[in-house]
């Protein structure tokens, strides 16, 4: 009988203590139930690391107008005002079809080139209820060199001036300030100059950013071309720069040995040697416009 009483009392004690539980504790239990995957956001400040793409996308319904400039080689000296006399540019428009799928078009003065691309985020880095260590994006792009034919007397095909590239971007935001990315790349040439030149160039890129403050980051990007699959006389593309964010704009200022601003022209056709002064100053201004407002 005594034992029964004790058990009864104990049972009620446990019930009572449950009821007396702090309301805050109850709230914690409730929010615990609601836990969702925590996706990494803002791995990079903008959709380009420097020359090439980052794993970032523009959001659905957002139009990104990008103006990029490359000046001449700093090694040109005072006569060329360290390259500022010469400028090459690309105008681009990117648009987010969904939060994971974006498309874009551009026109470069260099070789009078048109380009278009599509980029899709296959995997999103997340923690919490779903764990994914990296963000994975795939990009396909097509480039058309509209320069007049070098040899108008022979039969020239439009396809001879078309180039394609495919890239995988594997990115990870390690912490608030450090994000790194790997970019295996293939670039296809329908027509190459020499009989022994490869039609497919293979390269692997690596890059990252380090935040210097909340709104400024230091970026680095390098593309290594596999020696057996590169065009003769070309060098690997290297770029170092800063991203500066000011409200709706992102300014990117950088130094690079590349002239072009599309995969073909900067990855497989860079000729400058960065460490011998073949460095160009460059900048990109990105301005986003919300074309379609998100639904709540």
């Amino acid at each position: 009988m005594n034992r029964l009483q004790l058990i009864t009392i104990l049972t009620f004690f446990s019930l009572a203590s449950f009821a007396q539980d702090d309301l805050m504790k109850m709230l914690d239990e409730e929010t615990e139930k609601d836990k969702k995957p925590d996706y990494a956001t803002a791995t990079f400040k903008t959709t380009r690391l420097i020359n090439g793409h980052s794993v970032e996308n523009v959001a659905e319904g957002v139009l990104d107008f990008r103006i990029s400039h490359r000046f001449g080689y700093i090694s040109g000296g005072a006569y060329e005002l360290w390259g500022l006399d010469e400028a090459s540019m690309r105008l681009g428009l990117d648009y987010g079809l969904t939060n994971r799928w974006m498309i874009g078009v551009g026109r470069s003065t260099y070789q009078k080139q048109y380009d278009g691309f599509t980029k899709y985020k296959l995997l999103r880095q997340s923690s919490g209820t779903r764990s994914m260590p990296v963000t994975l994006s795939a990009i396909a792009s097509i480039m058309y060199k509209s320069l007049k034919d070098e040899n108008p007397d022979r039969e020239n095909y439009v396809t001879s001036k078309l180039f394609y590239s495919g890239q995988l971007l594997i990115g990870r935001k390690f912490n608030e300030s450090l994000s790194l990315q790997l970019m295996p790349t293939i670039i296809h040439y329908n027509l190459v100059q020499g009989a022994n030149d490869p039609n497919d160039v293979f390269a692997i890129g690596a890059g990252g950013r380090m935040k210097l403050s909340k709104r400024v980051s230091l970026n680095l990007e390098y593309y290594y071309q596999l020696p057996d699959y590169k065009l003769p006389g070309t060098t690997n593309s290297l770029a170092i720069g800063v991203d500066i964010e000011t409200g709706g704009h992102v300014f990117q200022l950088y130094c690079t040995n590349s002239t072009g601003m599309t995969e073909r022209t900067y990855i497989s056709e860079t000729t400058g040697n960065f460490f011998e002064g073949d460095i160009r100053l460059g900048f990109t201004i990105s301005r986003v416009f919300t074309v379609k407002k998100p639904k709540h």
Binding site: L15, Q20, T31, T41, G247, V288
Partner: protein
């Protein structure tokens, strides 16, 4: 002896019974408004969890900072990255007491003015925050609405000079929650 036990049991039962007077919402709405001549910014969060203990007159809120939605994607990114630092401080909470809870009858339909005193924690900083609003009881369900303002500086949320004319120093917060009895 038996009588003592009986009394203890009764008192415990009554305490246990109090847990019935807790009301809950998991889809409460909290929104904020920053108004300047240059730009209006508003964020809305429809996934707020809140509890009211009617017997004690206590009210608590938990808000996931990342669940605020904005008109522009970039606003959302900057809100999380630069201002609220939601990776470092994922949750905002409020713990308060309804000071006039004795004049609110949670079992009788009606509309009651309410004053809540408590502490708001966000961006890792806890500040005293008083809010006034209305509690409405209808068919055993409770709704609570309130509007109050906070100063960003109180929560160490810095506005860079470059955008100082686009982000207001005082932010209006609106709360609109519909509670049901917690089972």
């Amino acid at each position: 002896m038996k009588q003592t036990i009986f009394i203890i049991l009764l008192s415990l039962l009554s305490v246990a019974g109090f847990s019935q007077t807790v009301y809950i919402t998991r889809s409460g709405q909290v929104s904020f408004f920053s108004k300047t001549p240059m730009e209006n910014i508003d964020g809305i969060n429809n996934e707020v969890t809140s509890l009211i203990d009617a017997s004690k007159g206590e009210i608590v809120f938990a808000i996931l900072v990342k669940s605020f939605r904005f008109e522009k994607a970039l606003m959302e990114e900057h809100f999380n990255e630069n201002y609220l630092e939601s990776t470092k401080f994922p949750k905002a909470t409020y713990q308060g007491k309804i000071t006039n809870s004795s004049s609110i009858n949670f079992t009788k339909d009606g509309s009651y003015p309410a004053t809540v005193e408590g502490e708001l924690t966000m961006h890792g900083i806890k500040q005293k925050q008083t809010a006034t609003g209305t509690i409405t009881v209808a068919n055993g369900k409770i709704s609570a609405v309130s509007t109050f303002t906070i100063k960003l500086a109180d929560y160490k949320i810095e506005i860079p000079s470059l955008v100082a004319d686009k982000v207001s120093e005082t932010i209006e917060i609106r709360v609109n929650c519909k509670y049901e009895p917690k089972s």
